[in-house]
Amino acid sequence: MQRKQIGILGVIIVLLVGILVACGAPSGPSIKVREVWSRPAMMVAESEGSSEGGMGMAGTGAVFMTLSNEGKEADRLVGGRTDVAQVVEIHESVMEGDVMKMQMLADGLEIPAQGEVLLNPGGYHVMLIGMKQPLAVGDKFTVDLQFEKSGTITVEPEVREP
């Protein structure tokens, strides 16, 4: 074979490999959500003075799941909405010694490229604030999860006893 032909062949091979590698993973983020479950939650009817206590006075809930990102770019879970509660926020529980601290993640939660993030008791959770209805084991409801890049992904948590 002539050098030129080898050169062109080489370039073609490189391009093919490049395309194959690129096809192996989406160029942007690619979020998959699985094992979504929720705790039962109580709803307390509005009572006197409850507005001073924040929206959580009607009750709060927690939704857990496994989030994986099969893409090449990170994404962030930034919020959500649901018909069963007034507000949806992303929270983290952190143990410091024997004290549990809970905080809202205002910037949401990063799901790294080719990574997986678990939301489970004692760690990250999607918090439901101001329940509009109670949640009992066996109930069905949906949550529209909001991702920075991937947009909305709707999930149906299974309400169960942990």
């Binding site: 924040g54 006075m57 009750g59 007034q86 529980s93 549990m100 809202m104 604030i129 006893e161």
Partner: protein, 191 residues
């Protein structure tokens, strides 16, 4: 001969002393005689610790709007209650609020009794509560910084405190404790 038998007796006594109960939770170096206290339960009735002599008492400090840690603990308690079977009658599970502003007796009842009708939810006047927080060195802190729609969240000690039937604080069971371990420890205290 006398000296040898004396030493032998000491040895036996020493071994006997070492053969005490073994616990899986964190044992206090010295049991603490808990000062008697009164709080109010979810039915508006007075709860006096000394009324429960003869029972093992589990105490946890949390609040009803806590979506994660507190329900997790109550769920674990529910499994412990089940695993104890008949012995559960000699154990008291009491959830004390660190958020008396929002946790009325009614809210506490709805919350804890959703897990088990025998669970006790406690609140009270601030000085009554402070006395109990003090005894167990309970840390709690209102956190308004995160801007959550819940208004404020409360950071708090997540340990379960275990008192023996004589009203002495004996053990700490950390958050995330295993049901089997706690059941084991409770049985040791009941014997």
């Amino acid at each position: 001969m006398k000296r040898i038998s004396g030493l032998a007796l000491l040895l036996v006594a020493g071994l006997a002393a070492c053969g005490g109960p073994s616990f899986r939770g964190s044992v206090l170096a010295e049991p603490v005689a808990v000062p008697d206290f009164t709080l109010t339960d979810q039915y508006g009735e007075t709860f006096r610790l000394s009324d429960h002599q003869g029972n093992v008492v589990l105490l946890f400090f949390g609040y009803t709007q806590c979506p994660d840690v507190c329900p997790t603990t109550l769920a674990t308690w529910r499994k412990i209650h089940e695993a104890l079977g008949e012995d559960a009658g000699r154990v008291r599970f009491a959830f004390v609020t660190v958020d008396p502003e929002r946790d009325t007796a009614e809210r506490l009842g709805l919350h804890v009794n959703a897990f088990n009708p025998d669970f006790i939810g406690l609140t009270g006047a601030q000085d009554e509560l402070d006395a109990v927080y003090d005894t167990f060195d309970v840390y709690y802190e209102k956190d308004t910084s995160s801007g959550s729609a819940a208004g404020y969240l409360v950071n708090h000690t997540a340990t379960t405190f275990v008192l023996d039937p004589d009203g002495r604080w004996r053990l700490r069971e950390t958050f995330g404790m295993e049901v089997d371990d706690v059941v084991h420890d409770i049985r040791q205290l009941l014997d």
